[in-house]
Structures are given as C-alpha cells and as structure tokens.
Symmetry: D2
C-alpha cells in the first residue's frame, strides 16, 4: 500500500500517556482545527484504545500509534498488530522511542511490516551515530532527540541538530528529520526548523501548559509563518 | 472502584492477534449472543484499537485487554495506560501471558493499578510453583497453562489441573482459576471444569476452526450444561 | 547438592560495577580478613570474570554472582549458566535486583536451577506485597529494599523493615531477610538487625567511602557486637 | 587503546553454554594448539567465569565474551562491565546475538565503550537490511546468520552470503564479515570463505560432535588450506 505523502514542515503532537479519552479528544479537535486553518500536516499520537475515536472525530490529523510490533496475524498475545492499526485508520507509528526501546531486529521487522502495509514510520534515535545507522533502514521520519533531554524542557543544541540532520540525509535523503527535544514555544519551533529540520513537535511543552490548545496554536502559528517565509 | 463480580463457570474468548477489526467484531457478536442466550459470563479480548468497537457493539461481554502496563498518567511513550482502558469501557486485562512476560515488579505494579481502578486481573502462570507465588498477589483470575502446551492443541493433564487449582485456592481462596491449555471442544470444556476450574477458554481451538462461531457455540453449550448440572 | 548453611547475622558486600579486577580483589581480601577475625558469614559479589580470582584468593567469603540465568547447558549465547558458576566455586547468586529485573517465569526457573545445584538464592523485592509473593518461592535470602531508595544513602523506615520481615517469615519461615537500602555506618547495621533482619549489607556505603576497607570494618565490628549481645 | 589486528581468514569457536569449566578448557587447549600449528587467528568464547582460566592456559586464542553491556563503572548490578573484561585479558566480545538481542541504543553504547577500551566487536545481524544498518556503526566483525537457521545445521545459501558480504563492505569496508550458520565440516568452511567471507566459525558443528577437537581440526585444516591457496 502506498503511504500518505508528508508536506514539510510538519508537526507532531505527542501526548504520550499524559492525556487519554475525552481530554485527548479535546486536544485533537483543537489540533485538527489548526491543521485545517494553517494547512499543515499534523501527526497526533494517543493511547491505542483512543485512536479509533481520534480518527472518527478529526479530519486532517495523521492518527499515529506510539508503538507497534512487527508480528503477523497469529499468536502474539498483547502485541500491537500492524494490520489492526491499518483497519482502524492509523496511518503512522512511532518506533523505538527511548521510553519503549526495541531490540534492533524487532525494530527492523516492525519497519518492514509498516512498509508492507503503508504505515508511516517515525523512528527515534539518541546520538548522531544511532541516527546514521537507523537511517540505513530508511524510516519515513527520523526523530533526533538526545535521550538525556527528554522531558526536561531543554532544547537540543544547534550543533546536535545540524549534525543529526546531516547524518540522516547523507544516508537516506528521503527520510524527513524531526528535531524534538524540549520544544515548548513558537520560538523553539522556529529554531528547530531553521536548524534544517523537516518537522518538530512536543509533549510536555504542550500538555503541561495551563492551556494546551493555546500552546499548540502558538507553535503551529510559528510553523505556518516559517513555512510561508520559505515559499 | 468496585470490580464487576464474575459468575462461574466463566469463559474467555482470546483471539490474540489472529483476528482484528471486522473479523474480531463478527466473533464478538456471536459470543455476545451466546453469552445472553446461556446467561454466562464471557470475557472477550482483542487488539487495543479494536476494544472500543467491541464495547460499543456488544452488551454482555466483558471487554478485556491482552496486556496493560502499571504506569500512571504522564510520560511512558507506547505503554498501555490503565486509566485509558477504563475510560474506553475495558473491564479486565490479561497480565504476564507467556507471550508477553513481565518483570515481576512491573507485574505487581500493574496489578496494584488494576485494583485501584476496578479492572479485573487475569494473570498467567506456567508451573504449580509460579501459580502459588502469583496467587499471593491475589489476582481475580489465575490462568494456569503449561507454557510448553500453548498453541499445541494438547490439554493439560488432570494432575496439573488439580495441583494448580489446589495451589491457587490454598493461598488465595477468592481467586478464580482458569484452566486453558488446548481447549478446542465441548468435551475439553467439561473436563476442565470437572477438574475443579472456575472457568476455561480458548484461542486456536476457536479461531483456527472453519466456523469459529460454531466452535464457540459448542463450547458454551457444554459450559451451560455443566453449569445447570451443578445447580 | 546441599547448600552451605548461613549463620546469622550475616553481611553482603556488593560492589556492583563500582569495583573490578585488582580493586575488587583488594576489598575482598579485607572482607576475608574481617570475616575470619569476627567469625561472620560474609557474601561478596563481583563481576563474573572476577569471581574465580575472588574464590582463589579468599578463604572465608561466600563468593556470589550478581545475576544468573535459569538455562541448562546447551544454546543460550551470553547467558549465565548455573553449572559454570558451581564449577567456578560460586556458592550464591543475587536474582531479580531492581537493576536487573527478571520476568517472573525466568526468575522462578533460575531459582529452581539454583536449588537443584546447591546455589544459595538472594532474591530482591521492592514492596511488602512483592516480598510476600516471592517468599512463596522460598529463596534462601530475601533482600527487601525499596527501589526508590537504591543508591540514595537513605535507609528504609522501621515500618517498612518490620512489615517486610513479617511478610517474608509468615510465608517462608526459613528464608533469611536482608534489609539493605542505604546502609553506610555501623549504626545503620545495628538498626537493620535490631529491626529483625537476619542480615544486612552495602554498596555505595562501602565503595564510595575514601577507605572502603575501614568502612567495612566499622560495619562488621557493629555486626559482631550485636551478634555477641544476642548470645 | 588499540585493538588487536585480525588476520583473515579467521575462525570463531563459540561453545555458547554447551561447554564450561574443565570441558571448555580442554577444547580451548585443542584450539590453541591448532591456532599455533596453522598460524591462524582463532577467537574462543566462553562463560564469563571461565574466561580468566581460558586466558591463562592458552597463548594464541583471542579470548572472547559472549555478551557485554555498555555501562561505565558504578551502579549496574549484574551487568557485564567492559573495564572488567579488559583487566581480565578479554580482547573481543559478541554483541546482539539472536539469543541475547539488545535494544538498539544499548548496542550502540556497548560498541562505543568497546571502541574506547580496545575490545574487538563481533556484532550479529539476521537479514541483509540489518547487516547494512549495523555496518554503519562500524563493528570490527559482522556476523551474518539468518536467525531461523541458528542451531539447525543448515548452512546459509550462497545468495544470502553474497548479499550480506556486499552490504557490509559497501557501508563499512574495514568491517570483517563472518558467515556462520550451520558450519559443521571442512567443506562448509571452504564454501563460506569462497563466498567472500573473511571468517567463519561454529557451535553445534563442533561441540555436538563425538570428538569436538577432531571436528575443529578438520575445520581449521580446511581454513589453513584455503588460506594457503589464497597466497
């Protein structure tokens, strides 16, 4: 199956396990409205049980799993089956996040199954060396985020961003790069994209704000602005 | 929150990753009709993305996750959040299945969170020694199934069934015992319950049959019959 | 094979990965001299490659692995074979430490293999509930240590010590209890044993001191004193 | 530290957990004699507790761990510390064997630590895609072995050998390639090297033979012969 094409710069709203159910849906509706208003590609992740409702109640978001396994239909109690995601309308999945590290062979299998079924792969790397090696597996999107910064609100340094962008593109030119660590303002968004990233996104920079929808609006406004400038 | 009370003998339909989406829903509708007809408590597991539809489209089934993690709302990318299951209408979860083994401390945490939120726990053990130890954590249901028999279609021996039933009850009298390995006919169901089990269930004994609904009907008819005899 | 009998109160010197090679040997020689002088049972752990030298160059220590797997001779690349430990003179092993958590079934297997080969099992638990459940597997020694305190230098509260001691003994009267978190002075040793523990021990409370041998001497002197009082 | 240079074609004797203690030492003495006689570079793996004796009692073997972790001296109970291996005379380590799969980030860390300390890295891959990606981390040796063939006595097909050799060299020209699956005769050795591999080796093809030393002699004789032809 063909995968959905991604327009850059894109954004990923990743509420991890902070939001679920009605609260997740509420933020998704906000993201959906902003995605339409600014004509941006926005990924939105959620708990697996919430993904069907997120799909049903939004129109513009790319509904995204936070993890997927590489099994085929059959045994595999408690594992996340790629075919089930596809039938539920899920179009993308994170893989190998630092909080859900995968053995290398399992990661490679899950990526192969995603390619087979048309699921966009968003693969996480910590160091420049890791990003370069994982780029050999040609993920659709490579998330570059120093593990030590996750959840800290500190942004990656410009050197790290430049080095990982370059490392990924030199190995896999069609892989899009997402610079993620510590994005919590419109300015962070602009800095990440200006560093050469194809996309950016946030977790605590959004969900830990008093008004997550307003925080998201600030970031997507900035993303839209930098996109317009680039034309 | 209070947990749903379980009437014995009960049955668990566990399609693992064999069925998903519309096919899972189809078997669930069949199970729902049989649960009503025979007035039996029937658990039905599924892929997490399928659980909301299973909940919405059935009335009598106890919708059950195949795995759950013990985290609290917050970080924890890709982990299964208990609160999200509850809000989606999930009432029970398997834990520590041989195909999704959990570190002991993680299992204990997930059980504590389930108890806190009113989720029924269905915990898997392999040997008599394991069943006795895990019974100390007072699961609602203990699944006794020799790992070496999973998926083989061979039923556990009567000695194993008697020994695990006794081991669990001696430690945790209120824990219900599910004898599971290799159940694929009405006779297997009768033998498991007569061995002293509170419930039984199946995977490949159902989903690998040419007509899974008919296979399930044979098993639930047998369960109903033995229940009537017991009155 | 019969296991070595343990005299209480005992002590465990656990240098984790802080010490290795000659430095580990140096502390082991100090511990060996103190074990002889005070006629105490002292366990000493180390990197697996260091255990043969620790065995060869000491006379009184119980040489202890920090982890062991439950496999049998055969395949199992990179796993720690129980038979190999026995032939190397290792008499005990930690299992399920919070820094090396084991799936429950693997832990049960490793304990069964240790019992078969006469290796003393030192099994770690975090909460009272975990300690009670693991006690059903009858470890030789249960280490009770709140995971949140490991490496902090904070000692467990008296309530925790009393509750875990009681929980373990009520289920498995012959299992010895080791209270471990944050022991770094002779006073800590006395408090742990007075709480009802059969033994105690330390890591950073010893190896992070300017003079680890002196720190150990202070602790073993205290242990000896409380042992004498108990006569 | 500088790593030991490896002369090709080389051989790896990998007894996994089949042999330990005196039996492992016996085979190592045989391998040592053959390594000297044929002037070949021979790696020999073993249980960690056996490595010091293997080192002490042989002169020509490259003593090799079956797994190593990427930690630094400090906490990390039960993990294999690189510094401890070095001090014990270990010169190489397998990493990411299918029977001891590592999360990708942990593998990258362990490889970085090995490079820092002069330990040769022998990294395992299953598919061509995996081999190509892991080659980006520049292991000293890449083991190409279809996981499905491990322990079966079936050799990899010539296509697989050619494709993995090419994949590795195109990404990392200095990485040596070890073709491993199912080597159990001198002919298998010749076929693997003629396929373009830099080295080969065996487990069950050696240890499961009635006379492991004779089996090894047959293989090393073949390796020597093909080396002579290549001059």
């Amino acid at each position: 199956m063909e995968k959905r094409a991604i327009r850059t710069p894109f954004f990923v709203v990743n509420p991890k396990a902070y939001l679920y159910g009605e609260k997740a849906l509420e933020l998704a509706r906000c993201a959906d409205r902003l995605a339409e208003q600014y004509d941006l590609d926005v990924f939105f992740t959620g708990q697996l049980v919430d993904l069907p409702a997120l799909k049903r109640e939004t129109k513009h978001l790319i509904i995204t799993a936070q993890h997927m396994d590489g099994l085929r239909p059959g045994a595999g109690m408690g594992h996340v089956l790629p075919e089930a995601l596809v039938e539920a309308g899920v179009q993308a999945t994170f893989l190998n996040h630092a909080e859900h590290a995968m053995p290398f062979a399992k990661l490679a299998q899950a990526m192969a199954r995603a390619d087979e079924l048309g699921i966009l792969t968003i693969v996480c790397a910590d160091t420049v060396e890791e990003a370069r090696a994982l780029a050999m597996l040609h993920p659709d999107i490579m998330v570059c985020e120093p593990t030590s910064l996750i959840g800290t609100g500190k942004v990656s340094g410009g050197d790290y961003m430049a080095a990982t962008n370059e490392a990924v593109k030199s190995v896999s030119p069609h892989t899009l790069v997402l610079q993620a660590a510590g994005i919590s303002t419109g300015e962070d968004v602009i800095r990440a994209i200006r560093s050469g990233a194809d996309g950016t996104g946030g977790t605590s920079g959004i969900v830990a704000k008093p008004d997550p929808c307003a925080a998201l609006e600030e970031m997507l406004t900035a993303l839209h602005q930098i996109k317009e400038e680039g034309k």
